[in-house]
């Protein structure tokens, strides 16, 4: 008998068994790329998991495995969860994309939800948040606040999501401060406090007085605090413990409502594969409290932009915008498409004005 068949039969047998014994308990698994104590990305996914538990109480049982490397290990952990009778599995990192698809093929009755990827299947949904909307607000504040006109940016991996964020922040910083310059350091990690701190220090030494980060730990904020006179933002999580220090605002990933919604759909039997990409409007991206370090007028502008982004009257990528090489991307008044060759989903170019190349 083929291996997949064995697995499928086991899954079916188990499905029958669990439905006979514990019909009302929905099992939900989460696979995390970092530790739940990272204070950023994984922390917020775990907050979403806890929200599911709080919402459904006894009706749901959640499990998670943290620090799962992307690749073969992820596939094994997912299989393990499916074998143990999970009804729904959230795989919360881009690198879990192919493993998710592979495992989903073997367990057609288990539903999967993959974060930030683009491969869907009958039992695999994808979901992501429009973090770049938050980046626009960040960029605005950064452009207004910088005195050295140098903004440091810690990139994780040069993937579309990160590049989108850099572009969005740059466009909006430039809009309010034509002299602003972005210095970008690639850390090639999502979570490595030592590397992130080093990157922040290098940027501060190069004159940056605003640090933006697309990595998950609080180390860059700690480095900013140590340097003094440098501001930063919470990434993925509010990072409120730095509120009295360098943190002036934050982009918060609010996964809870989505997770609750999807678990509910599984319970009701209405779950369908879909692609979700929500922003501030739908509540998937939150803007953390803007502190008093930010002048009142800047704060008001930032909040106005948040409103406009939320109700859809303003798009973070509105033309005219040229690509880095000077070629036209968006015409006057044109807004960026989500998908397609020049779409946001696969964005692999910087906009005009950003110096430096995307590493290859």
């Amino acid at each position: 008998m083929k291996f997949t068949k064995i697995l499928a039969t086991a899954a079916v047998a188990l499905g029958l068994a669990t439905s006979a014994f514990a019909q009302d308990k929905t099992k939900v698994g989460f696979i995390f790329v970092g530790p739940i104590g990272d204070g950023g990305w994984t922390h917020e996914h775990n907050v979403g998991r806890l929200a599911v538990e709080a919402e459904f109480g006894d009706k749901v049982e959640t499990t998670y495995v943290e620090n799962v490397p992307e690749g073969a290990d992820a596939e094994r952990v997912m299989t393990q969860m499916a074998l143990q009778g999970a009804d729904l599995i959230f795989t919360t990192s881009f690198g879990y994309m192919d493993p998710t698809i592979n495992v989903a093929k073997k367990f057609p009755d288990v539903k999967f939800e993959h974060a930030t990827g683009y491969k869907q299947a009958d039992n695999v949904s994808v979901y992501s948040a429009r973090f770049y909307e938050g980046r626009a607000i960040q960029g605005h504040i950064a452009g207004k606040m910088t005195k050295s006109n140098i903004v440091g940016y810690i990139g994780s991996f040069p993937i579309p999501e990160v590049i989108r964020g850099i572009n969005s922040a740059y466009i909006h910083a430039k809009k309010v401060n034509p002299d602003v310059e972005f210095k970008i350091v690639w850390a090639f990690t999502w979570f490595d406090p030592a590397k992130e701190a080093d990157a922040a220090k290098v940027l501060i030494e190069q004159g940056a007085d605003v640090i933006l980060q697309h990595t998950d730990s609080t180390a860059p904020l700690a480095a900013a605090e140590a340097a003094g006179n440098v501001i930063g933002f919470g990434q993925a999580s509010d990072m409120a413990e730095f509120k009295d220090g360098p943190r002036v605002s934050s982009i918060i990933d609010a996964w809870g409502p989505y997770y609750i919604d999807r678990v509910k759909a599984v319970m009701d039997g209405t779950w369908e594969s879909k692609s979700t990409w929500d922003g501030i409007g739908a509540g998937m991206v939150g803007i953390g409290d803007i502190t008093d370090k930010v002048p009142a007028d800047v704060k008001a502008e930032a909040l106005a932009m948040k409103e406009a982004l939320a109700d859809g009257s303003y798009h973070a990528f509105t033309g005219p915008i040229n690509k880095q090489d000077g070629s036209a991307w968006l015409a006057e008044g044109e807004t960026a498409e989500d998908y397609g060759d020049n779409g946001l989903a696969g964005m692999n170019f910087f906009v005009e004005g950003i110096t430096g190349d995307i590493p290859e």
């Binding site: 291996f3 495995v65 943290e66 620090n67 690749g71 073969a72 192919d98």
Partner: protein, 360 residues
């Protein structure tokens, strides 16, 4: 009062017993640790050591032991040759990465052609890639007496950058919508390192690991070169007098461990992982160092050590998923294993003596 007394001869009994004692001590203190975390220690230990082998879903986990252990064994065998001769290749992780890049690159160069000879070419390319990467510290050591520990370790970080560059540039999937990472070799039959017998987890890399164990055993016990390697490590001066060419040993040991690490990377990228991606490297090259020492640098010992470590990984994931143990506790548990092994190792060469306090 307890004193340590050097044994005239290393104790044979303890050389065999230490791994067992270390495992038992790890179970005991690990159990205490899990208890302190509020978990049932017996259930935790059972989940880690027993369930993957004999639990309900053992049919899935037993093959996974080979999948996880295979690359560890393959790399550790290569490392042990050098370690025996006092040549410290710490950079197997880098050789593993370069082997994967070369192997996958060779395969993808033929895409989408299907032919029987593509996979053998990939194997050769993978081995050559790892070999060449290890030749850098080897040649530098032979020519300029540089320290191979530093050079090989530093080259890991270079390989990391190379990996990122390949995933973002040369090997990027042209149909990947701009996202980093190569084509998935699982979807390319000629290049896919499939299971030899379905459902056993035995892919070609595991077969290679078996062959490497036998090969290393014969080399070390029946071959002049193996004797020279052991002699160089145990008595460098004697080796000199018996006209062993140290440079030849250095080149052979580093080259061999590099080639085996490269092979492991190639088999991993074309099989379980499937894809050259930025975070393809998951530390096998470093973990293999532990495996080599846990196995007493003996080929058969390494074989079992590799499987044991694979067991703690897989069982550890199960303990996380099923019992909610944090991943840090599992890492601590694995650390304990090495710690106790090294600590108990003392008893091979020393004995503890109870002596009365003597007047000074």
């Amino acid at each position: 009062m307890l004193t340590l007394e050097k044994r005239p001869q290393p104790s044979k009994a303890f050389a065999y017993l230490t791994p067992l004692i270390a495992i038992l001590a790890t179970m005991f203190f690990g159990g205490l640790l899990f208890m302190a975390l509020g978990k049932n220690p017996f259930e935790s230990i059972r989940t880690i050591f027993w369930d993957p082998l004999f639990g309900e879903f053992a049919f899935y986990y037993r093959p996974q032991l080979f999948v996880k252990g295979g690359p560890l064994i393959l790399i550790a065998i290569g490392l042990s040759l050098g370690f025996k001769a006092g040549i410290w290749n710490i950079g197997a992780e880098g050789q593993y990465i370069v082997g994967a890049i070369c192997g996958a690159g060779a395969g993808l160069a033929f895409y989408p052609m299907e032919a029987w000879y593509i996979f053998p070419i990939m194997i050769i390319a993978g081995a050559l890639g790892g070999w060449a990467w290890a030749m850098i510290p080897a040649l530098l050591k032979v020519k300029f007496q540089t320290n191979e520990i530093l050079v090989s370790l530093m080259l890991v970080y270079v390989a990391d950058q190379l990996l990122a560059s390949m995933s973002l540039g040369l090997l990027k999937n042209p149909e990947g919508q701009g996202f980093p990472g190569s084509r998935n070799l699982k979807d390319y039959p000629s290049a896919f390192n499939d299971e030899i017998i379905t459902g056993t987890g035995m892919h070609w890399g595991v077969a290679a690991a078996f062959i490497a164990v036998i090969f290393a055993y014969v080399l070390l016990n029946r071959h002049m070169l193996g004797f020279s390697i052991r002699l160089t490590g145990e008595a460098p001066r004697a080796a000199k007098f018996s006209s062993v060419n140290p440079n030849r040993i250095i080149l052979f040991c580093l080259g061999m461990s590099g080639a085996l690490a490269g092979l492991a990377g190639m088999f991993e990228v074309s099989g379980p992982s499937g894809q050259v991606s930025i975070d393809f490297a998951s530390g096998y090259g470093f973990t293999a160092i532990i495996v080599a020492f846990l196995g007493r640098l003996h080929p058969v010992g390494i074989f079992f050590a590799g499987l044991l470590l694979a067991l703690t990984y897989i069982g550890g994931e199960m303990a996380q998923g099923n019992l909610g143990l944090p991943s840090a506790a599992i890492q601590l548990f694995q650390g304990m294993l090495l710690f106790f092994l090294l600590a108990v190792d003392l008893l091979t060469n020393y004995r503890i003596k109870l002596s009365r306090k003597e007047a000074v």
